[in-house]
Each structure stands twice: as C-alpha cells, then as structure tokens.
Assembly symmetry: C2
Homo-oligomer: 245 residues x 2
C-alpha cells in the first residue's frame, strides 16, 4: 500500500470564500492507481507554515501533493516555500520559459509576473500544464500543482501514469432506506467476520426518507464481494431492499 | 484575534467518495464571530490518529472543531478517540438519553447503537442537535460536531452565540476581466502600501473570459476601503471595469 498526503494551500479556503474540491479529485484519482490518501491539510498562505507542512508530510507519506499558490501574484508563495523546505534556491527554468513562449509570443508579454511562474526549486522537474502553460513541478516525492481545479486536474491526469502505486482499493456501495441505528448491530457483526475489508456507513436523507450507504473497501476483490453479499442479506433480513450504488 | 482549527474526520473524504463541505461553512461562520480558522485537517477513522490530531490542535489554537464520526455504527469512533485524547472515560450522559427519548418514545427503540450516541467523554457538555437529537459535545476548547452537513450546521448555529471571538475580519471583493499577470505588479504595490490588509488574488474563467477576484481583508474597515479604492483605480488604469462582488 502506497500512501499520500494532500496539502491544500490558500487563505480563501480557510475563510470560507472558496469551496475546496481538489481533495476529492486527488483522493479518487490516486486511489485508482493504488495510492491511498491518508491525510489532507488545509493551510494558509504563510511561507513558514507551508515549508513546515511540506517537510512534515513528505517524510511521513510516500507521496505529497500540494495545490494552490503557484500563480503570478504576490500571494503566490508556494514555489518559494517548497524551495525553502528543501533548502535549495529558486531558479528560473528555461524549459518553463519556453513553454510560456508558446502561449505568449512576444517578449513584451513575458512580463516579470509571468516569468515568476517559471521559477522552481533547483533540481525540480516540470509538470506540464496543457491549459495555461505555467507549469507545476516535482521535487523528490513532492508534486506541486495549481489550485484552479481545471488546471490541477489536467496536470494530474498528465502525471498519473508515472506514479507507482500498490493494488488499487476496490469498493462496493450498497444503500438501503433503513436508519443507521437499525443497521449498526448487523454491520458490526459483518465487520468482525470480514476483518480484511473496511466497512463505512454513511447516513443520508433522500426524498425525505432516512437511509444509509454501506461502503465496503479492500484491495481484495473476493473479500469485498463476500462482505457485500453479507450486507445485502442483512438488509433483506430487516425487510428492506439492497440498492446497488 | 482568536484562532481555530477544524478537523474533518472520515475515510470517505480521503477516498474521494464524499465532497467535503463543512470546512467552508465553519470558516465563514467562525469568521462572522471574529474567530479565524488557521488550519484544516482531514483524517481517517483511526482512533490513534484522531486522538493525536485532537491533542496537537487543541494546544495550538484557541478553538478546535471536529466533524464526523459521532453516529451509531462501528466506524463512529470520534467520542472514544476524544475521550482518550483527554485521558478520561466515556460515560453515558443522562441528558443525552432524555433528548433521544423525545425522538424515540418507546424503550424498545432506544437500542444499543442509539444509546452509544449518548456516550461522551467525562466532563463534556452536550451540544444540542435539533434535527436528529443525538447530541454533539464540548470538552474544554474542543467542539465535537456531526458530519452530516445539515446537522453540523444546526449544531453550530445553536452554539455560535456562546463563542468569544475578536474583531470580525471584514472583506471586500472586486473582480475584473483582466488576467492575473497584468494585475500582479500593481497589486503588489498596493499590498506594500497597505500593509495592514491582506490582499488575495483568485483567477477565474467566466463566460470564456479570463479574470480575477481581488479580495481585501482586515479587521480595520477603513483600511479595507482605502485598499479597495486603490484596487479600483488600478483596474481602471488598465482599461477595465472594477466589478463589486
């Protein structure tokens, strides 16, 4: 099992101005290549806080992904903070400048703020940005991505194939219009009898009716199916219908 | 300035199954009473991980809020983990049982899983749940809330009035259909000239056109207005129209 941490950088997430959505995308995408996100951190635009979080998390997990703070404005400080975390200088990457040149054809357009987006920690490899060209970068096990979801997603899809994961986690989700309290005892028994899977119970209200989604997860597909069958039987025994999700 | 941390508990958030939304609500709500969320953590349903995160964060911030993991099923382990963090036993709260009795009138309905939701760390005070009655709880500066957004929100609105904050952060947001790169130099000058405010730049694409929202924040309303006026003038000087948001 390979593990990852995602650091989401930006005051706008903490103040409630912006609804964060990159964690969900990365959680699902990394899982599909056998890498499990074990932690997320949301941190403000403060250089020391970013550097410290990067150093803590890159040591603790196989992979670290960051999103946000790599644009052209004064509040974009992620590249500098990551360079400080690694104790290396920021250097202008000529490949990044060349990539921007495909977007901005005249030298007049390659302004200081745009060139700032070509500064990466020494030793970093670029991560291609097919949308607005200003690249992300990777240094050791740290992947520094844009914060704008559509750009972050394009960067991630481009690099995903190069990641080395373990077996992907398989899952099956079965819903029932039964309150969690009525499911709890049977579910606990099933969890105990199927210790190699992880069973989660997520309550919902749909069309005014209370229910729960029961999600079974494991890298072992046969174990998932066996536990799923036990969950279906329990739901039927409670007089309800198991609904595949 | 009072500070807070929010810990979002649940494997379903890390796996990408569930789009998290409680952080945004709490970030905005806490800000409105003068408490600034300085960090968010997303952690899995693992007792030791929850206990450790609670102890780290309650020491570092004035307030700690957690969401998730207080339901009736086997994967709801937050109350136990918080009790362990404080080194106190879990005890059945008779007020919580009485609250559940208003929801479930017969003793037959007060099953073990439902009663589990009445177990709180010794010394905790209940947080009212006007929706499904199973309460949250507070122990010292740690507020333990439900994960289901509608219940979390109802719990928070009920306790918000009792929180002691500092001066609320005021903000003004001005958008322009100008790329961030063109705004960067002027914005940096304005940030330097108005050091008491925090200026954030958030790029967007609307109706196919590139632009940015410039957000000015401070507890000092006059300082916000002065910086906002400078931002408007800069946008006009670039031949664009400042759009109040």
């Amino acid at each position: 099992m390979k593990t990852a941490c995602v650091i989401l950088i930006g005051n706008e997430i903490l103040s409630g101005r912006t609804q964060e959505s990159n964690l969900q995308y990365l959680g699902a995408g990394l899982n599909s290549v056998g890498i499990r996100v074990m932690a997320g951190r949301v941190i403000p635009d403060i250089t020391e806080v970013i550097s410290e979080a990067v150093n803590e998390c890159r040591a603790e997990y196989d992979y670290l992904f960051t999103t946000g703070g790599i644009g052209p404005t004064h509040d974009d400080i992620t590249a500098d903070a990551v360079a400080r975390a690694f104790g290396v200088p920021l250097v202008r990457d000529e490949q990044a400048v060349a990539a921007l040149r495909t977007h901005y054809t005249s030298d007049d357009e390659l302004t200081g703020p745009r060139l700032k987006m070509c500064d990466v920690p020494e030793g970093a490899a670029l991560i291609h940005n097919p949308i607005s060209k200003a690249p992300g970068f990777r240094i050791e096990n740290v992947y520094v991505l844009a914060g704008v979801p559509v750009i972050m997603q394009a960067m991630f899809e481009g690099l995903k194939g190069d990641l080395t994961g373990g077996a992907p986690v398989l899952s099956r989700s079965i819903a029932a219009f039964v309150g969690e309290s009525l499911l709890a005892a049977g579910l606990s028994d099933i969890q105990n009898a199927h210790a190699s899977v992880e069973i989660g119970s997520y309550p919902f209200i749909r069309e005014g009716k209370l229910g729960a989604s029961l999600v079974i997860r494991s890298t072992d597909g046969a174990a998932v199916e066996a536990a799923a069958e036990a969950v279906r039987e329990m739901i039927v025994s409670l007089g309800a219908e198991p609904l595949e999700e």
